[in-house]
Symmetry: C2
Subunit: 349 residues, 2 copies
Amino acid sequence: MNDKPFFTPQCPSPERDEGLITLAHGGGGLLTRRLIDDVFRPAFAHNAEDLTHDGAVLEVGDTRLAFTTDSYVVKPLFFPGGDIGSMAVYGTVNDLAMCGAKPLYLSAGMVIEEGFALADLRRVVASMSRAAQVAGVRLVTGDTKVVERGKGDGIYITTSGVGQVRAPRPVAPAQIREGDAIILSGDIARHGMAVMAAREDFGFENDIASDCAPLAEPVLAMLDGEIDLHCLRDLTRGGLGTALVEIAVDGGCDLQVARSAIPVSDTVRGACEILGIDPIFVANEGRYIAIVPGGQAGSALAIMQRFEKHAAVIGEVGRPQQTGQASLTTMGGDYVLDLPTGEQLPRIC
Amino acid sequence: MNDKPFFTPQCPSPERDEGLITLAHGGGGLLTRRLIDDVFRPAFAHNAEDLTHDGAVLEVGDTRLAFTTDSYVVKPLFFPGGDIGSMAVYGTVNDLAMCGAKPLYLSAGMVIEEGFALADLRRVVASMSRAAQVAGVRLVTGDTKVVERGKGDGIYITTSGVGQVRAPRPVAPAQIREGDAIILSGDIARHGMAVMAAREDFGFENDIASDCAPLAEPVLAMLDGEIDLHCLRDLTRGGLGTALVEIAVDGGCDLQVARSAIPVSDTVRGACEILGIDPIFVANEGRYIAIVPGGQAGSALAIMQRFEKHAAVIGEVGRPQQTGQASLTTMGGDYVLDLPTGEQLPRIC
């Protein structure tokens, strides 16, 4: 497999028409970031930190809350290792965990297409209920809307979550420091490849199961172990590669990771090679990176490995820079990573 | 105009196929209630109070929080008096206010259809930003997904909200007592009729503007005035009629309201007559009822009239009953109200 990052196949050039929303605007890469920077942040942000993360940390009374939301439009609704219901619970739970918070309560807003089978709705709801139990959260409020046939695709779910912040200090890219270790929580790219394999139009089958899972337990265990969590990021849309670029830019430091240290299962690697996709840009739903002081790398890794044996130190934080870059060290040399400009696979999450 | 409640035109019988979701499941009437009772509550409710309201009241640390969510699929996106952006802000702010809470923070999850005009997105976002400013809340976190052409309808927005509960006692149907006054905050049915008039397929035009507005100020003013708010309910999907039936059933008391006391503007009344629709079942986006001890009716009304001059006492709470009923007193006699079984107008909110 070529060591240099590559991103084909992608959707047609996303910037063909500047005036219209394209699938790539939802891909988590460059156009998503531009949409946030050009449209959402000017309208809503009160300070530079606002809207840069997947969750907000807020003071209400004497309590530090984490608050987050995610919309789920995954296709197909059911895939090996998960479904839209478990994703909608774990994904939002994980965004709270990435704020250094203990997830507590969820809400769910459902947009259902007329003609959707009640049996499928029951299946999705049962999956959400199980996932909430596993993650130790309560779904306490919701809303249901129905749209006409042809104005939806079965069901879209938006979950929001509230948690109580446990981290004593901010957990954010701005906290990363030269010499910090970058630890990856397990093997990557399983969710994206599982969803692709479940799509008939990709014409290949395999037994890859999504990594969809809740991530609060290892985060809380690290906080209990007094690990100084500088930054946490789950590796959803855009995968590991996008997370590294965003943290480097937002944190103002170079990041250096080694391709050889990144765990990828043989099956996933094979499927990626067939499709010509780089696993570091494939979405995950139960993987994250933790950036911690170099001196705590060993103890943090030990805790992370209690939950997932393939957790590994994959790199470190380098020099502070005006505009930080993320680089991938490979046998062929070092490559600077870019945000993907297209959409690898629409409707992955 | 006939005094007896009537609900035509409605969509075709919603129970034609028991196994599929119909538009009426999203209408806020009988089928919505069944969906909640049969599918959502068994999966998620921890006690009988859970999921019966539009918002949840939670303890986090030492803080009593209100938490709520709503999905907005209104069609058309822009209509006289509002748009999907202002609705998505005010609607969720209002759900928090109906918990007796001061709204603080919002999140927004957007599902955008490929090909949606960026100019329209900017217009929606600008409207959300203005509405948040008016309502005194901050939009602090969000998510954007893009679905293929033909799998959405421009944009759907799910907003969630967090507020701090100010009411010293629970605000809920279970708190209503015989002799309580039922106060309506203003004239009804403007939102629903404005949206209908904005739909080309209804073939009529008029100058009705939606009542879309934030409702936290009057609620907080009543709390400051030491009004003992037994129950609050905004009159969205299903309108005043549905709210009365639900409160009667959930509160275990009969409710009696007088048709003649319910303010309806002449324009709205005329439009309702043309379409054969009863205004008490038409959706509002800036109207609510407050149920307060009879002895406080005068002072509560005075506060509500500071914000909207047409606020009026429309009825009172009657005897406790195993299954409470809501009745409408008209010149032709008393009529027991039922939850609407069909969908008056899909995609009203």
